[in-house]
C-alpha cells in the first residue's frame, strides 16, 4: 500500500497544487477557480454569485421566514401569498445550493487535474468547452423553467396546503393560516364520515378504472378480430365509422349523452326503455344506474382508439403463424388464444396501461355526465365521484382546501407508486440504465 501512494505521488506533475485548498477557497465562489489560474471563469463565477446573492438574499430570507410563520397580522397578511413566496424561495434556494456545490466540486476537480499535469486551456478553448458542456442545459432550461412554475410549484403548494387549516371557515385574507401537522390525514382516517367517504370513493375509482378500461379493450379486440376477417367487405367505411367516437371531441359527446340519458325527457328512456319495459330507468338519480351509464359511455368513447391500435397490429401478424396452426389442426379459439392475443397484447401493452391510468383520472366524463352525482346522504362525494372529481368538488364547491390537498397527496402516492413499478418493468427503461 505505501508503495502505491508513493507511486502516485511521483506521478504528480504539480504536487504543490492542492485540490482541497481549491475547494476550501471556493467557499467564496470563483476564488478556487482563480487559484486554479482560470481567471476569467473565476471572475465570471464570482460576479454571477455576487449578483444573485445581493438580488435574492432578502427575498429568500423573508420568504423562508414567511413559510414558517404564514403571516402574523390578520386581515393584513395574506397567508397564501406568504406560502407561495416561501415556496418560490425554496426553489431559488435549492438552485443556489446546487450551483454552489457544483462550483466547489468544479474547483476541486480542476485542481486535481492540474496536479496530474493538465494544462489550463486558454480562453478560447475554455469558452468552447463551456459551450459544449452547457449546451444540453441550455436546451432544457426553457422547458424546465415552465415545468417548475406550472407543474412543480403548484404541486408543492398543494403538498404544503395539506398541512394547514385552510378551509371555508378559515380562509385568507380574513384569517391567518397555521400549520397543523398531520391533523388532516388523521381526520381523514379517524372521523367516520370522512373515512367511509374516502373508502367508498377509492373503491369505486378502482372498480371504475378496471371495469371501464377492460371492457373498452375487450370490445375493441372483439371488433378488430371480427372486422379483420378477409371475407368482410367495406373495411375502410367500417374503420372510419368505428373511429368516429375518438374523433369527435369528448366533451361534446359526453354532454350529448347526458341529455340522452336524462331521466325524464332523454331519448333512451322515452324511446327505448319505456316502450319496451313500460318503466323509466333513473339513470341520473340512482347510484348504480348512473355508474352503469357512465361505464357504457366510457366504453363508447374509449374503444375506437384501442380498436385502431389493434387493427394495425392484426394486419402486421404474419400469415405463416396461422397456416402453421391450420396444419396442426388448431381451431379458431386456439388460434386466437395462442397467436392473435399474445401478439396484440405484446405490441400495445404500454399504451393499454396508459388507458388505465387515463381512466383513473378521467375527470371529464364524471363531471360532465352529472357532476359526480347523484348526491349520497352523509358524504361530501356523489355516487359516481372518483378521487379526482371528489377533490375538485371539495376544492371548488365545498372549499375544503386542506382536505382536498390531503386526498390529492394520497392520490399522488397511489399513482406514483403504480407508475414506478410499471416503468421499472418496461424494457425501454432498463435499456436506459445501461447508457
Amino acid at each position: 500500500m505505501p508503495t502505491n501512494t508513493d507511486n502516485r505521488k511521483e506521478n504528480l506533475i504539480n504536487p504543490r497544487h492542492n485540490p482541497t485548498l481549491a475547494a476550501v477557497l471556493s467557499i467564496i465562489p470563483g476564488i478556487g477557480q482563480i487559484y486554479n489560474r482560470r481567471f476569467v471563469k473565476g471572475a465570471a463565477l464570482f460576479i454571477l454569485f455576487a449578483a444573485f446573492f445581493s438580488a435574492m438574499y432578502s427575498f429568500i430570507v423573508s420568504g423562508l421566514q414567511g413559510l414558517v410563520t404564514l403571516g402574523e397580522i390578520p386581515r393584513e397578511h395574506d397567508s397564501r401569498v406568504f406560502l407561495s413566496e416561501g415556496i418560490l424561495s425554496l426553489i431559488f434556494f435549492a438552485f443556489f445550493a446546487m450551483f454552489y456545490v457544483l462550483n466547489i466540486t468544479d474547483a476541486y476537480k480542476d485542481a486535481k487535474r492540474i496536479q496530474l499535469g493538465w494544462k489550463v486551456p486558454n480562453m478560447r478553448e475554455g469558452f468552447k468547452n463551456a459551450w459544449d458542456t452547457s449546451f444540453p442545459y441550455l436546451l432544457v432550461t426553457p422547458g424546465l423553467f415552465l415545468l417548475l412554475f406550472v407543474v412543480v410549484f403548484p404541486l408543492l403548494f398543494m403538498i404544503f396546503l395539506a398541512f394547514t387549516n385552510y378551509n371555508l371557515y378559515n380562509a385568507p385574507p380574513r384569517h391567518l393560516l397555521s400549520w397543523v401537522g398531520f391533523d388532516n390525514f388523521i381526520r381523514l382516517f379517524t372521523i367516520a364520515e370522512w373515512r367511509s367517504t374516502f373508502f367508498n370513493v377509492l373503491s369505486w375509482t378502482l372498480v371504475w378504472t378496471f371495469v371501464a378500461t377492460t371492457l373498452q379493450i375487450a370490445l375493441a379486440l372483439f371488433l378488430a378480430v371480427v372486422v379483420n376477417d378477409p371475407r368482410i367487405k367495406f373495411k375502410r367505411l367500417i374503420r372510419t365509422v368505428f373511429i368516429l367516437p375518438w374523433a369527435v371531441p369528448a366533451f361534446v359527446t359526453i354532454i350529448i349523452f347526458s341529455a340522452l340519458f336524462n331521466d325524464n325527457f332523454g331519448a333512451i328512456n322515452l324511446h327505448m326503455i319505456e316502450p319496451l319495459f313500460g318503466t323509466k330507468i333513473p339513470w341520473m338519480t340512482d347510484v348504480t344506474w348512473s355508474r352503469v351509464a357512465i361505464i357504457m359511455i366510457q366504453v363508447w368513447l374509449g374503444f375506437p382508439f384501442v380498436y385502431a391500435l389493434f387493427t394495425g397490429v392484426l394486419q402486421s401478424i404474419s400469415s405463416d403463424w396461422y397456416e402453421a396452426a391450420d396444419m396442426d389442426g388448431a381451431n379458431r379459439w386456439q388460434k386466437f388464444r395462442n397467436i392473435t392475443f399474445p401478439h396484440v397484447m405484446f405490441a400495445t401493452a404500454p399504451l393499454l396501461i396508459m388507458q388505465y391510468s387515463f381512466n383513473f383520472n378521467n375527470f371529464n366524463i364524471i363531471y360532465l355526465f352529472n357532476q359526480g352525482g347523484p348526491a349520497v346522504r352523509g358524504q361530501t362525494a356523489g355516487g359516481t365521484d372518483i378521487l379526482i372529481s371528489w377533490i375538485y368538488g371539495l376544492t371548488f364547491d365545498n372549499q375544503q382546501y386542506n382536505m382536498a390537498a390531503a386526498i390529492s397527496i394520497i392520490l399522488g402516492i397511489l399513482v406514483a407508486s403504480f407508475a414506478f413499478f410499471q416503468f421499472r418493468r418496461t424494457r425501454s427503461f432498463k435499456e436506459e440504465g445501461n447508457i
Binding site: P154, I232, I243
Partner: protein, 288 residues
C-alpha cells in the same frame, strides 16, 4: 356423392351464417355509434330551444340556431372561436418547440442529472394538472394573468412538456446516431445539427405533438373554467358548456349547433390523420 355435396352445402351455409353474424354485429355498432351523433345533428336543426319535444328528424327544420350563433349581437360564438384558435396555435407552436429542445437534450447528450430528469418526467406526467388547480389559480392571480389567454397558454405549454418530451425523445432515439456524429466531425455546431439534421428527420412525431397540442385547447374546459372569468375571453369549450350548464333544457339545441361546428372540423382532421397519429403514438410509446 350425396354426403359430400351435403357437407359442402353445410360449409357454405355455415360461412354465410358467420358472415351474417359479423355484419349484424357491425351494423349494431354502427347504430350505437351514429345514433347519438345524428341525434345531436337533428337537434341542432330543431326550431325550439328545449330538449323536450325536440326530435331527431325535425318536422320543420331550420338553421335558426346556427344563424343565432353567427349573427346575433348577444352571441359571443365568433369571439370564442377566435380565442380558441389563438390559444390552440400558440400552445401548439410553443409546446412543440420547447418539447423538441428538451427531448433532443435527453436523447443525444449525457449530462449530469439526466437520469434523474427522466425519472422526474415520468413521475410528473402521471400527475394531472387538475390536482394543483388552486395553486395555479393563486399563481396566475399574483402575476396578474388571471382571466387572460396568455395565462392559459403558459399553463398548457408547461403541462405539455413531460408527456410529450418522452414521446419525442423515443422518436429521436430511433434516429441513427451516426448521422449527427458525422455532421459533428464535419464541423457542424450544436444548433446546426439540431435544426438541419434532427428536426427534419423528426417531422412525423413533431406533427403528432403539434396536432395534439392544437386539439387539446379545443376540448379542455376545466382550466378555462377556473382561469377565465369574462365571457369575451371564453374559449369554445367553456362557452358551449355554459350554454347547457346555465339553464339545462333551455339552450340545448343551441349547444348542439355550436358543438357540431367544432366537432366537424376536428373529426375531419382526426379521420384524415388517424394513420399518422396511431403510428406516431405507437413508435413513440413503445420505444420511449
Amino acid at each position: 356423392m350425396n354426403t359430400t355435396s351435403n357437407k359442402r352445402l353445410n360449409k357454405k351455409s355455415k360461412n354465410i351464417l358467420e358472415l351474417t353474424v359479423s355484419y349484424a354485429i357491425i351494423a349494431i355498432m354502427f347504430v350505437i355509434i351514429l345514433y347519438p351523433l345524428l341525434w345531436a345533428l337533428g337537434l341542432s336543426l330543431n326550431p325550439g330551444r328545449g330538449l323536450y319535444g325536440a326530435s331527431i328528424i325535425p318536422e320543420n327544420w331550420s338553421l335558426e340556431h346556427y344563424k343565432w350563433l353567427f349573427f346575433d349581437p348577444r352571441s359571443n360564438y365568433l369571439t370564442w372561436y377566435k380565442n380558441s384558435l389563438i390559444v390552440a396555435v400558440a400552445t401548439s407552436f410553443f409546446a412543440t418547440f420547447i418539447v423538441c429542445l428538451v427531448a433532443y437534450a435527453f436523447s443525444r447528450y449525457r449530462f449530469k442529472g439526466r437520469k434523474n430528469g427522466l425519472y422526474a418526467f415520468l413521475l410528473l406526467q402521471m400527475f394531472p394538472v387538475l390536482m394543483a388547480m388552486v395553486a395555479l389559480y393563486i399563481l396566475l392571480s399574483t402575476v396578474n394573468l388571471l382571466d387572460t389567454l396568455i395565462g392559459i397558454i403558459i399553463v398548457y405549454v408547461g403541462g405539455a412538456v413531460p408527456m410529450n418530451a418522452f414521446l419525442v425523445k423515443g422518436y429521436f432515439d430511433t434516429i441513427p446516431r451516426e448521422l449527427d456524429e458525422s455532421a459533428k466531425i464535419d464541423g457542424a455546431g450544436h444548433f446546426r445539427i439540431f435544426f438541419t439534421i434532427m428536426l427534419p428527420l423528426a417531422k412525423p412525431i413533431l406533427a403528432v405533438v403539434a396536432l395534439f397540442n392544437f386539439m387539446a385547447p379545443f376540448m379542455d374546459f376545466i382550466l378555462p373554467r377556473i382561469v377565465l372569468r369574462s365571457p369575451e375571453n371564453y374559449t369554445l369549450a367553456l362557452g358551449l358548456f355554459n350554454f347547457v350548464n346555465d339553464q339545462f333544457s333551455n339552450n340545448f339545441t343551441r349547444f348542439a349547433a355550436g358543438a357540431i361546428l367544432i366537432a366537424l372540423p376536428i373529426s375531419l382532421v382526426y379521420l384524415f390523420l388517424q394513420k399518422y397519429l396511431i403510428t406516431g403514438l405507437t413508435s413513440g410509446a413503445t420505444k420511449g
